[in-house]
């Protein structure tokens, strides 16, 4: 774990030049990169993430996906500090088991989102450095995406990108899925094939321009039949 002042506020590294003597303190946080994306359709949801795990100038692993399956209808994508991602998913799994044992049914996506919000806020003063996006099917079978900030503020969206390349991907999604900033365009609903193709294209663009994104793309497609996974290679440099 490097000291915090070598990272600027959005997690990317600062320019390296000598500014005089600097006191380095141990920082419990570190930024491990990665991008996550989720899209909700009429009867499906897609959660996708790249599989690169980096820290500073090094790549720790090329095969570390950031989507975690929670239930048969919900997948969570978490990027940020990998240590906190792992612990958070363990805690969510444990709470899901407890719920299942005491209530004899699995948690719905909305309930998982509300629970995650309270888990994250429980650490308000020493937050989990994780950007979460939950994708799944709600009780009516429609696609649902819930996006979170590190301290638990959340809301339901149709699409959301999070992680290191989020500022590049989100405007593209706004335009292609939300039809924002376009005049005289017909608003066609998103089909599953088009959505998967769009996700692949969007990640290829992200890998071109963001150094923390690349290696491979893992897509989880959630429908009422279950969760299907696809892996697509991306730039490795």
């Amino acid at each position: 774990m490097l000291s915090s002042d070598s990272y600027s506020e959005n997690g990317k590294m600062r320019d390296y030049h000598y500014t005089g003597p600097v006191e380095h303190r141990f920082s419990p946080y570190s930024f491990n990169g990665g991008t996550v994306l989720a899209v909700a359709g009429e009867d499906f949801a897609i959660v996708a993430s790249d599989t690169r795990l980096s820290e500073g100038y090094s790549i720790h692993s090329r095969d570390s996906p950031k989507c975690y399956k929670l239930t048969d209808t919900t997948v969570i994508g978490s990027s940020g500090f990998h240590g906190d991602c792992l612990t958070l998913t363990k805690i969510i799994d444990a709470r899901l088991k407890m719920y299942k044992h005491s209530n004899n049914k699995s948690m719905t996506s909305g309930a998982i989102a509300a629970m995650l919000s309270t888990i994250l806020y429980g650490r308000r003063f020493f937050p989990y450095y994780v950007y979460n996006i939950i994708g799944g099917l709600d009780e009516e079978g429609k696609g649902a995406v819930y996006s979170f900030d590190p301290v638990g503020s959340y809301q339901r969206d149709t699409y959301k990108a999070g992680g290191s390349a989020s500022s590049m991907l989100q405007p593209l999604l706004d335009n292609q899925i939300g039809f924002k900033n376009m005049e005289n365009v017909q608003h066609v609903p998103l089909t599953q094939e088009k959505a998967v193709q769009l996700v692949k294209d969007v990640f290829i663009s992200a890998a071109e321009r963001d150094v923390y994104t690349g290696d491979a793309l893992k897509i989880c497609i959630i429908t009422k039949e279950g969760i299907r996974e696809e892996t697509v290679p991306l730039r490795k440099d």
Binding site: S4, N10, G11, R25, Y121, R124, V151, G152, S153
Partner: protein
Amino acid sequence: MALQEVCGFNKFSYLYSEWNISASASVYLEDTFFSFHNRKNTDFGGFFTGSNGSPLELYVPVAEYLKESPLQFGQASPNVTPQPTAKPEYCSLPSLPFPAGIPLSASSSIPLPFQLSHGTTTLAFQFQGGVIAAADTRSSCSGLVACPSSQKILPIHSHLVGTTSGTSADCFLWKRILARELRLYQLRHHRRLSTGGAAKLLSHMLHPFKGTELCVAATLCGWDQNLCGPRLFYVCSDGTRLQGELFSVGSGSPYAYSILDRDICWEMSVDEAVALAREAVYRATHRDAYSGNNVDLYHITAGGWKRREREELKEEYYREKEREREKVAERRRKMEKADGSKCVK
């Protein structure tokens, strides 16, 4: 139980009492993750054991790690030795479960690598037809728009609405806690708590976190049945609690104040008030970088709150441009006509 340890869950002994045979006196059983661990503070044990006797039992969510900062090991930490606060018995609220000496400034030793959502324009005012609350919907996060359609006005119960400003996670959660406490009060006392009472409750719940990075600035807008009238309170996490007739909060508030101060009067009609609120938010979003996107408007009357359709401000800008263009064209036509008539003469 191992699972519960992992989740910090072992205080929830009420529902899982068969698992927690050796559970200590953990009394506050309503919330799951908010744990108040008083195994170590046995001197407070007697204070808390006892069921819900006193009416205003505030459950202040003070988590365990606030008592021992995990990062104090081996590093030159800033001076976080806390001053022991007054013993709870002397507190005006008899059941405030707050142990002395919580190092609430533990957070200052950890620099966060990310920013939390901030920046907004919200406003609320009273008039003869009730209370109007309006807000923009942009939630920004260190230069990036984290969410262009967030909800900054949250209904708390049928006759009370709160606008939120500051960190959105804090506001969302504290509104939930306030809604829960108000509901419990209503169930215990068979009447709704007044807006002033709700404001006082929120202010006292936020008080233990004064000095930490919690940032909540809310205006509570409500209608009190017993006091027969609209009420407006401003509550801030630094301890401010004010009653008033007009409040605007956030980075865009100076712009909103200028519009409101000019046209506000008690005798306005509902349509005029709605138009005024909308105009104020629109002008503030025009000038303030951290406000924008849409306008949310709520109108509270004796019958409860009513939500007006969320309005996209982009259309309004185009309409404004169109109006300006019309005005310029009109002026030009008038000048030409005057010139023309002069020439004829």
